[in-house]
């Protein structure tokens, strides 16, 4: 074995990790080779120096710092669900208790508020009408009273369209078409659900003539699509005296004739009150409202009106600027009409063309003309 090989094995030799044969060879060599025994000594010293290296102590804050970071990590790692439910033994009972508490409070609040809510409930649009009708005819036959009760149900279902179809048939049957029509017009005031305030101003419905009323009644009861209530009502009423019958139609036609009336009126070109016709239009489609606003600065006012419409939640706003005037069209919710009108009046002189604000019941199409002051 040469020095080179011996040196390679010295590391293992020091640790006693060479085979006995190798150990013998190395021992023999070391006895005769000074350089190699020096190398062994140095290697041994190196090991000793390394072993004697002083251990370093961790800084006292080490554990805390590590754990702070670990806890931070643990917090962020915890999922949403885990945060909600863990530790289970604390949070689940807590959450269960909270749920029960919420339920109890909710029931309690509901019970407490319920009576008040009943008092606050706005009357349905039709109820005032019925109430008013009952007033002029206090001495009604019991049959009529039950009808009133039913009336409340039927109109809310609002099968005006289907009934009106049948009405058309009825109209053909009756020879006194004009008279019927007139009646329809009269009744229509009650039919549509106008604002309560308006109702009060309207005249009391003309009492239907006993001769026409029963006919109508029959017509109403005929249709297949009419709710069964109408049928039963007719059955009830049939034996009743004409006086009672005369009252009944006015109530029942209220809903039955509504839609038809407008059409008839158109066909017959009869003189009819303006307001009801408008109301009918409002029911079937969006109304066209036309305003003329007279201002000093047309362009400026145009911009203002446009932004006003945006603010009121109008849609399909279309602004056309012409030489001397501006035309803005838009669709506005009925409840915003009043505000709009008031705001317009602040801008200048406002003319409302062929429409009345208070007749609007649904979304209306607006046409605002802005013209310079004359």
């Amino acid at each position: 074995m040469e020095c080179h090989d011996i040196r390679k094995s010295l590391s293992a030799y020091l640790e006693g990790m060479v085979s006995p044969e190798d150990q013998e060879l190395i021992d023999q060599h070391l006895a005769s080779c000074r350089a190699c025994s020096t190398a062994l000594y140095e290697l041994n010293r190196t090991g000793e120096v390394l072993k004697n290296l002083k251990e370093v102590e961790p800084p006292p804050w080490m554990t805390q710092k590590i754990m702070a970071r670990v806890r931070e990590e643990a917090e962020s790692k915890r999922g949403f669900i885990q945060k909600l439910f863990y530790p289970l033994h604390i949070k689940v009972p807590l959450e269960a208790f909270a749920t029960v508490l919420i339920a109890v409070v909710a029931v309690y609040v509901f019970k407490a508020v319920e009576p008040e809510m009943k008092g606050l409930q706005p009357p349905s649009p039709r109820e005032p009408v019925i109430a008013r009708q009952e007033a002029p005819y206090p001495a009604k036959a019991p049959a009529a009273e039950t009808q009133v009760a039913r009336e409340k149900v039927v109109p809310q279902e609002g099968p005006a369209r289907t009934i009106s179809k049948d009405l058309a048939v009825a109209e053909k049957e009756t020879p006194k078409k004009a008279q019927v029509d007139e009646e329809v017009g009269g009744r229509k005031f009650k039919d549509a659900p106008p604002p309560v305030s308006e109702i009060k101003t309207l005249p009391a419905p003309p009492p239907a003539s006993p001769s026409t009323a029963p006919k109508k009644e029959a017509a109403v009861s005929q249709p297949t699509e009419v709710p069964r209530i109408a049928e039963s009502r007719t059955a009830e009423r049939a034996p009743s005296p004409p006086a009672a019958a005369a009252i009944a139609p006015t109530q029942e036609d209220k809903m039955a004739l509504a839609g038809e009336a407008a059409r008839e009126r158109k066909e017959l070109k009869k003189a009819q009150p303006m307001a009801p016709s408008l109301r009918m239009a409002a029911k079937s489609k969006a109304e066209v409202m036309s305003f003329v606003v007279r201002v000093r600065e047309v362009r400026l006012a145009g911009g203002k009106v446009e932004s006003l419409l945006h603010r009121l939640g109008a849609f399909r706003i279309d602004r056309v600027s012409r030489e001397s005037d501006e035309i803005i069209t838009a669709e506005v919710k009925a409840e915003k009409m009043k505000e709009l009108s008031e705001k317009l009046k602040l801008m200048g002189e406002v003319e409302e063309k062929d429409s009345r604000l208070d007749t609007i019941e649904k979304d209306a199409t607006l046409r605002i003309e802005i013209v310079p002051v004359r």
């Binding site: 040196r7 390679k8 590391s11 293992a12 990790m17 190398a39 000594y41 140095e42 290697l43 010293r45 190196t46 090991g47 120096v49 390394l50 072993k51 290296l53 002083k54 251990e55 370093v56 102590e57 961790p58 800084p59 080490m62 554990t63 710092k65 590590i66 754990m67 970071r69 670990v70 806890r71 990590e73 643990a74 863990y86």
Partner: protein, 206 residues
């Protein structure tokens, strides 16, 4: 004797695996126990690898955090301590590489003047009289030895640190580094040889 050692090791392993399974169930205190148990050894490994106390502290913190993050992935195929040392060695290696590329660390140079508390001194060849090693303070010797360790490549450095400084068995080193025993031995031989030559110059004598 060896039976008693094995028994002790076995008990440690059992303790560790109990703590590890507690950790997995979200018991952070169990992890704290592990930190307290291993932080010193981790720090010493890191310190001897990197050669800088503050950086070694950072690496140890990162190692524990990394261990915590992946403790669910720890399958128990090896001992927890082995796994921890593997982590700290990997992070130390990365740190050394970073430092090298930054070039901010001066690798210990044998001939360069060495800054000491008494000022700059030159490493002269040994002269007569008491050996310089005996004259030097322990602190100074440690610094020079560390300087020589720092001069080694990572792969040599780690076997030297694990075997000669920390006293791990070959089997443990094989587990930690995942390299064959033969490779451990040959690296160790070269590391010792290189260090011996360096120390002869750095300390003047051995």
């Amino acid at each position: 004797m060896s039976n008693r050692v094995e028994e002790r090791i076995q008990r440690t392993v059992d303790d560790d695996s109990r703590l590890v399974s507690s950790c997995r169930q979200g018991e952070i205190d169990a992890f704290e126990a592990l930190v307290q148990k291993y932080q010193k050894k981790m720090l010493n490994v890191a310190y001897r690898m990197i050669g800088d106390y503050d950086e070694a502290c950072e690496v140890v913190q990162d190692s524990f955090l990394s261990a915590y993050r992946s403790i669910k992935k720890f399958r128990g195929e090896s001992r927890f301590s082995t796994w921890l040392y593997r982590i700290v060695l990997n992070l130390s290696r990365n740190r050394i590489a970073q430092v090298r590329t930054r070039g901010s660390r001066e690798v210990y140079s044998i001939d360069a003047p060495k800054a000491t508390e008494e000022g700059s001194m030159r490493m002269d060849p040994p002269d007569e009289g008491p050996s310089p090693l005996e004259q030097m303070e322990k602190k100074e010797v440690d610094a020079r030895v560390q300087g020589c360790i720092n001069g080694l490549d990572s792969e040599y450095r780690e076997v030297l640190v694990l075997r000669d400084i920390q006293g791990f068995s070959y089997e443990e080193i094989h587990d930690i580094l995942k390299i064959p025993d033969g490779t451990v031995k040959s690296r160790l031989f070269r590391a010792r040889d290189a260090l011996k030559e360096c120390l002869k110059k750095a300390l003047g004598d051995l």
